[in-house]
Each structure stands twice: as structure tokens, then as C-alpha cells.
């Protein structure tokens, strides 16, 4: 290199360095244009903060049916394991033999008592006619009736017999009740299912519960960790998605057990069971035991303004976002932040719906810069092209032609 070239290179480098230094030093005086890559409109939407959890589909109800010795002798099962049952389907029945036998015995006993009652009544009748005869017998005046004693004795007898009758009456009543009870028992010989579902188990050795029926209706159960249980509360909304599907079903946290699933241990984390009821009209055509993704809505802000988190710039004094103004410049706006969920940030104050905000924080960006954007052929639509008038095409092209 000759000294001439060295001098030249040195001068050029000095000039460039001087320019770059001035660019930063006299920042506010230098016109700039910012190249905007991405921008997006401020949206108005509902914000949901959710907590993921794992769940599994389980029958909503499990009903146990017990065999009671007192109700009669076991006769047999009417269903088999795995059978579909409806409300009212018989599950198992008691033998009627014992009951009919008992009923007959009561009947005989009752008839016996009734006979006895009849006998007593005719006896009373006899006694009464006897009494009447004695009372109507002619008696001399001023003479005490010699039959008075007899009459009195008869009266006592009648009274005694009547007492006996009423005693027998209550006895008969008792047997009538028993017969009625037996009749009722005869009607209730079949134990019926109270829900629609499937027979889960049958105990042929008659250990209780002899039959267990699980409902077709489903709920979701899952496990929460110690941290999660602090966040979740009963009554929270839940979104359920069966694994490998994109259906979204709504539900509600029904119950959170406040005792851990296993014996608490100092060194292991405790886990808590919770269950979710599915909202009605949300039939899940899935098998029991199928796993589902659960998202518990822990926080919810409805109808609020949001921007992507990239659009939020943190500065010493609060947060800012850069908004595109109608005059083709970017404006720095101070914003109040709200809830942040994943990549979405609620903005409580500072922007309006539909306002366009820049997504990235460019170097050297300040308020009041004009900006330019690259052509994105992917966003072009043929329809708009066809609708564009020749005059406009000419206008746009002319602007491009004349622009420096």
C-alpha cells in the first residue's frame, strides 16, 4: 500500500466513524426510518389463566347394592358382570318361599284369633240375654231384688269378655300388619338399579356389596401437587381435552380432597385427588379410564385489551409499547400491564382496540420515527389485485417512481 492509499483509507474510516458517532451522539437530530418486521393489532378478548393437569375419565357414580339377610333368602342374580343396566333393571332377587310360608302362618293365626273372637262374642250374647231375663223377672215392692247379685256377676263377666275381645282385636291387627309386611316384601323381592350404567362387579359368594353398578355418565378425576392444590379451588372452570383429540369440553372442579392420596411423608411430595363434573350437554363418548388433558381456569379476565408479550418493552419507568400512528410514524406509549398468560399480555391502560403495535424492540427506536416495511408476497390476495383500479395502480407506481 502506498501512503496515498493509506491516507485515503484512513480518511474514509475517519469519516465513517465520525458519522456513526454523530448518529448516536446527536440522536435526536438525525432523521431515521425504522424497518418494521412485524406488527399486530391490539385485541379485545377474554384472558384465561389456566393450570394444566392430568386427568382420567371415571364413572360419575358407583352404586353398591347390599344383600340383607332380613329381607329374605337369596334367590339369584338377574344380571352378569359387564351387563348394561337401565334405571329399574333388576339386579338380583330374594326367594319368595320363606315369605309366602310366613304369610300363610300369619293368616292361620289370624283366623284362629277371629274364631276365638266370634266365640267370645256369642258367649257375651248369651250372658246378656241371661242378664235381661234376670232383670225383667217380677219383683215384689220394697223387697230387694234377689237377682241383684247375679246381675252384677254377669255384668262383670261381660266386661271381662269384652276386654278379651279388644285384646284379641289388637292381636289380629298385629297379624294383619305382618301379612301386609309380607305382601310388601313379596313385591320387593327384586333389587333394582337406580342408575343407568354397567354392572361392574358381582360377588357370587354374597359378600357385601354383592352388586356394584357404575354409571354411564362420566366425571374426571386427577391428581394435584402440593403447589397446585394451593391454586385450585372448588368451583373453578375447567377445560377438558381427551388425549389425541381437539375437542374441548367444559367442566367444573367439583371436589378437592384435602388429604393426600397416600400417607404423608416428610421426604416425598404429597398428592391430592380432585374431581371434575362435566357440564351438562357435554357427552363424552369415551371409555372409562381414558386419559384427558385438563386445564383448570385459575384466573379469568373478560373482554380485555391484549398485546403479545413481545410488543411490551420494559424501561426504567414502567412499560412501553410502540404503536403505529395514522401519520406513518411510530409512537411510544406508556402502558399499564395486567394479567400475563403465556405470550399474551393484558394492557389495562395506554392502548386502544385495533391499534397496531410493533412486535419487536428494534435497536435505536424512538418515538416519532417514520417506518418502512418489507413487501410480503404471501399476504397478497388475488381478489384485491383484480379489484384494484387502473388509476390506483398508476398512482401507486408513480409514487414509487418519484420516491427517493
Amino acid at each position: 500500500m502506498t501512503w496515498k492509499i493509506r491516507l485515503l483509507v484512513g480518511a474514509v474510516v475517519l469519516f465513517l466513524a465520525c458519522n456513526i458517532i454523530l448518529l448516536f451522539l446527536k440522536d435526536d437530530k438525525i432523521n431515521r426510518t425504522y424497518h418494521a418486521d412485524e406488527w399486530t393489532a391490539v385485541k379485545k378478548q377474554d384472558l384465561l389463566e389456566t393450570m394444566p393437569a392430568k386427568g382420567v375419565l371415571a364413572p360419575k357414580e358407583e352404586q353398591h347394592f347390599y344383600y340383607e339377610n332380613s329381607a329374605g333368602t337369596f334367590k339369584g342374580f338377574l344380571v352378569e358382570k359387564g351387563d348394561e343396566v337401565q334405571q329399574g333393571t333388576g339386579l338380583f332377587e330374594y326367594s319368595p318361599d320363606d315369605l309366602t310360608l310366613a304369610k300363610e302362618e300369619f293368616q292361620i293365626e289370624k283366623e284362629k284369633l277371629e274364631n276365638e273372637q266370634d266365640n267370645l262374642e256369642s258367649h257375651i250374647d248369651d250372658l246378656e240375654s241371661m242378664q235381661r231375663t234376670l232383670t225383667s223377672a217380677p219383683v215384689e215392692e220394697d223387697q230387694p231384688n234377689p237377682n241383684v247379685y247375679m246381675i252384677q256377676t254377669l255384668e262383670r263377666d261381660i266386661y271381662e269378655k269384652e276386654l278379651q275381645i279388644s285384646r284379641i282385636d289388637s292381636e289380629i291387627e298385629k297379624y294383619e300388619d305382618l301379612i301386609e309386611a309380607a305382601d310388601e316384601s313379596l313385591l320387593q323381592l327384586t333389587v333394582e338399579s337406580e342408575i343407568d350404567g354397567t354392572v361392574k362387579s358381582i360377588k357370587h359368594d354374597l359378600t357385601n356389596p354383592v352388586v356394584t353398578v357404575i354409571s354411564n355418565e362420566q366425571k374426571v378425576t386427577g391428581i394435584l401437587s402440593e403447589q397446585e392444590i394451593k391454586i385450585a379451588t372448588e368451583g373453578m372452570k375447567v377445560f377438558i381435552t381427551p388425549e389425541g383429540s381437539n375437542k374441548k369440553i367444559n367442566g367444573t372442579v367439583e371436589k378437592i380432597l384435602n388429604h393426600p392420596t397416600s400417607e404423608p411423608h416428610a421426604e416425598t411430595e404429597s398428592r391430592y385427588e380432585f374431581s371434575i363434573v362435566l357440564d351438562e350437554s357435554n357427552e363424552l363418548e369415551s371409555f372409562h379410564g381414558e386419559h384427558v388433558d385438563v386445564r383448570i381456569v385459575t384466573n379469568e379476565v373478560l373482554d380485555t385489551l391484549t398485546v403479545p408479550t413481545e410488543a411490551v418493552k420494559k424501561a426504567k419507568k414502567g412499560h412501553y409499547t410502540y404503536a403505529i400512528q395514522t401519520n406513518g410514524r411510530v409512537d411510544r406509549k406508556k402502558i399499564e400491564l395486567g394479567l400475563k398468560i403465556h405470550q399474551t399480555q393484558e394492557v389495562k391502560e395506554g392502548v386502544e382496540k385495533g391499534e397496531l403495535v410493533l412486535l419487536e424492540r428494534p435497536p435505536f427506536l424512538k418515538s416519532g420515527f417514520p417506518f418502512i416495511t418489507s413487501v410480503e408476497p404471501g399476504k397478497l390476495k388475488k381478489k384485491d389485485f383484480e379489484e384494484l383500479r387502473k388509476k390506483e395502480i398508476l398512482k401507486y407506481t408513480a409514487r414509487g417512481f418519484l420516491s427517493r
Partner: protein, 220 residues
């Protein structure tokens, strides 16, 4: 067979090439080179327009137009820029050479050859400016190769800023190059050549500054 001017070598070795140029009777492949450089110019302007450089005017409509319409606007804006790129190349190749031809006693074709090299330099500047513009967020008035930044820092009036920003290192390079070539190929005195060159360039700089300041594109 005539002599084909090696344009790239002309950048590096103006002295050798200009002596060659003086000796040659006829030039060959000149029109091919002209066409090639016009296409190159269209390409560079197209790429620049693709990144939206100079499209501040279009950006104003971002909030009014739909996304697709906005892109269409930019597309036609880019088309306009490409057309301007072609016109610009033609102007740079033929206009100054015509100017010199009337003042300096040199064959017109040879002057065109010189202007082809000049255009190559100007297109190089434009191409280098694309990434620099995008990275530093600066526009034409604040190009780091120009005196525009200094003019702005000194708070000059707007017209002067445009004038200064039109003077760039690459422009100076072209003046030097033109001077070197003309000195060899013409018999005119250096003082006269300098006078002609500076006059021509100053004329173009002032014209472009005036055009910039009235913002022609806004009038439509």
C-alpha cells in the same frame, strides 16, 4: 473486433483502462454492457424496494388499508421503483456523457463507457446501503456515507441537508474516477475538467435536493 471495456477492472485500475480506451478505435459489446447495467440497476432498486426503503409514504396507509391492499400498494410502489431504477440507469449513462460530449472533445461511446463504470459505483453504494439502512434504521438523508448526518447534526436548513446528503463518498469516488478518465482520454486542461465535473455534479446534486425537498411523491 473492437475493444470491450472491462468495467470491473476500470474500477480498480482507472489509469490503465483509460489509456487503453484512448487508443481504441471502436468499442464492442457496449450495448450489451449498457443493457446489463440497466437490468442490474432495476434489480438493485427492486431489492431495495422489496425491503421498503423509501416507502415511508406507503407506511402512512398501513392503518387505513387492509393487509392485502397494503401489500399491493407496496408491490406497485416497488414496481415504480424498478421503473425508476431503469430510468435512473439510463439517465446516469447517457445524460452526463452527453453533457461532457458537448464540452470535451471525446467520442460519445467512450464517455458512455466511463459512465457505465460510474453507474456501477452508484449501484454498489445503493446495494451496500440496503443492509446498513435496515440495521441502523437510517434513511437516505442519514446515510453514513454522506454528509447528511453532519448537516443534520449542525442543524442546517432542510434544503442544505438534502444537498449534503446527496454528497456521498461514492459520489466523490465517481468524480475522481471521471476526472482520471477524462484527463487521459481528452486533451483538455485539468482545470477545465475539474470545473466541468464539479459543475455537472453540483447541478445534479442541487436538482435532486430540490426534488427531495418538495417531495414529489406526495403531490400525487
Amino acid at each position: 473486433m473492437g475493444y470491450r471495456v472491462p468495467l470491473l477492472r476500470g474500477l480498480k485500475e482507472p489509469y490503465t483502462i483509460s489509456h487503453q480506451l484512448r487508443k481504441e478505435e471502436s468499442l464492442s459489446g457496449l450495448w450489451k454492457q449498457v443493457l446489463l447495467l440497466i437490468l442490474l440497476s432495476a434489480l438493485v432498486f427492486g431489492v431495495s424496494a422489496f425491503f421498503g426503503i423509501g416507502s415511508e409514504q406507503v407506511s402512512r396507509t398501513l392503518t387505513e388499508l387492509s393487509k392485502s391492499e397494503y401489500e399491493l400498494y407496496k408491490l406497485f410502489f416497488g414496481a415504480g421503483q424498478v421503473i425508476w431504477g431503469i430510468v435512473y440507469a439510463i439517465l446516469v449513462i447517457f445524460l452526463p456523457s452527453l453533457f461532457f460530449w458537448t464540452l470535451v472533445d471525446v467520442e460519445y461511446k467512450k464517455l458512455i463507457s466511463i459512465q457505465l463504470i460510474v453507474l456501477l459505483i452508484l449501484l454498489t453504494e445503493k446495494a451496500i446501503n440496503i443492509p446498513v439502512f435496515l440495521f441502523l434504521g437510517i434513511n437516505t438523508e442519514s446515510s453514513i456515507f454522506s454528509f447528511g448526518i453532519i448537516a443534520q447534526a449542525a442543524a442546517f436548513p432542510e434544503l442544505l441537508i438534502y444537498t449534503f446528503s446527496a454528497i456521498t463518498l461514492f459520489k466523490i469516488w465517481t468524480v475522481v474516477l471521471q476526472y482520471k478518465f477524462l484527463k487521459v482520454v481528452s486533451e483538455r486542461s485539468p482545470r477545465f475538467l475539474i470545473f466541468v465535473l464539479l459543475g455537472t455534479h453540483l447541478f445534479f446534486v442541487i436538482v435532486s435536493a430540490l426534488l427531495s425537498s418538495i417531495h414529489l411523491e406526495k403531490l400525487i
